[in-house]
Structure formats: C-alpha cells, structure tokens
C-alpha cells in the first residue's frame, strides 16, 4: 500500500504533467496535420528539426512530461484491471518512466543533431 503522501505526490505529478502535455499535444497535433499534407519524408522532417534549439527544447519538455505521466497512468490501470499492486509494480513503472525518458531523449537527439 502506497503511503498517503506518495499518493498525493503521484496525483499532483499526474495533473502537473497533464497540464504541460495538453499544450505539447496541441502543438504536436497541429505539426502532424501540417507535416503529412505532402507525405512524410526524412528530408522534410529533418529540415524542420535539425539544429533547432526551439524544437529541441519543445520535444525535450514533451518527453520528460510524458515520462512522468504515462507510468503513473499505467500504474493505476494495472492496479485496477489486473490487481497488480505493491513494490513490484512501483519498480516496474519507475523503470518504464526512465526507459521512456532515455528512448525519448535518444529520439529527440536523432532528429535534432
């Protein structure tokens, strides 16, 4: 059983990351719709992102926010749907968050560098 303090922290982190993600997702949706209008090509994607500090900062914040948000949400779903609770679940979700941050950071680096 997670302590009350930990539950409040997770709740606050989920809402704070959600507020950041709402803005990031809105920008992402507009970018997606704009980007697919002539088909996706590597040249077009990289021309937009390569060397751009603005996009690097945006996607960096996006990745960090989702690395906080997704594991907390998944943790709730796993606990409620399959009854997985306790330390094992917490460690698994922490690992998932860290992996998302690492893989996401690598993806950002791939299109910016």
């Amino acid at each position: 059983m997670t302590s009350l303090r930990a539950q409040v922290l997770l709740w606050a982190a989920q809402r704070a990351s959600a507020a950041v993600l709402a803005i990031c997702v809105l920008v992402h949706l507009v970018t997606i719709v704009y980007a697919v209008r002539n088909g996706l090509t590597a040249a077009e994607i990289l021309a937009r992102t390569s060397g751009s500090m603005g996009w690097a900062l945006f996607y960096g914040v996006f990745v960090l926010a989702v690395a906080v948000h997704a594991p907390i949400g998944l943790r709730t779903v796993l606990a409620e749907v399959i009854g997985w609770r306790g330390r094992g679940l917490d460690v698994a979700m922490l690992a998932f968050g860290l992996l998302l941050a690492a893989w996401g950071g690598r993806a950002v680096y791939a299109v910016i560098a």
Partner: protein, 115 residues
C-alpha cells in the same frame, strides 16, 4: 444497486473508457514511436526507407487511430483537469461534447491531409 451494463451506459462512463483505452494504447505506442525516430541516427536513407514502409494503408489506418486517441486523451484530460481544479459551473456539462468534437475534428484534419 447492481453494477450492470445499464448503470454504466452513460456518456461520462464512455469518456472514462475512451480515456483509459487511449492512454494504454498511447503508452504502448511511445517506445515504437521513439524507436522509429531514432532511425534517423542511421542516416537519412534509413529513416526514409522506414517512412516509406509507413505508407501502407493499414499503417496509415493505425496512425489515424493514434491521432484520434491522442486528441481524445488530451481533450478528455483537459475536461478532467477543469472538473477537478475549477469550481463547478453548469457549462462544464458541455465539456464532453466539446472534447468529442475536438477529437473527431483532429482525426478528420489528419485524414483530409493524408488524401
């Protein structure tokens, strides 16, 4: 009260189902999305060959579903933030309709730009 289907068959329950299903789908898709973008590390040609693979109709259908899920999860999430964090007002009852309209509009905008 028996918690049967009739008790659950209302708009707010379906909003909960959509939020949960879209959230899990997006969480599972993210590692794949990050892997795809990392193809750029192996050069523009490798990245391009992956992007050509995504032009298959079935992959595009999956992308459409993901765009809809992304819009729905965002709009549904904003609805939850408003309900949880702002004082209750009657207009908040229309948030479900607004979130649905936003999600469908995002999906249509993606589809219309694809074709």
């Amino acid at each position: 009260m028996k918690n049967d289907f009739r008790a659950r068959n209302h708009a707010a329950y379906w909003a909960f189902v959509v939020h949960r299903v879209s959230g899990v789908a997006l969480a599972l898709f993210l590692p794949l999305h990050f892997w795809a973008l990392a193809q750029a590390l192996q050069g523009e040609a490798r990245f391009d060959s992956f992007l050509r693979w995504t032009e298959q109709p079935l992959v595009k259908a999956g992308e459409l579903a993901l765009v809809f899920f992304l819009a729905a999860h965002m709009a549904g999430g904003v609805r939850l933030l408003i309900i949880e964090l702002l004082p209750w007002r009657d207009w908040q009852k229309t948030l479900l309709t607004a979130a649905t309209a936003f999600s469908v509009a995002a999906g249509l905008a993606f589809l219309l730009n694809l074709i």
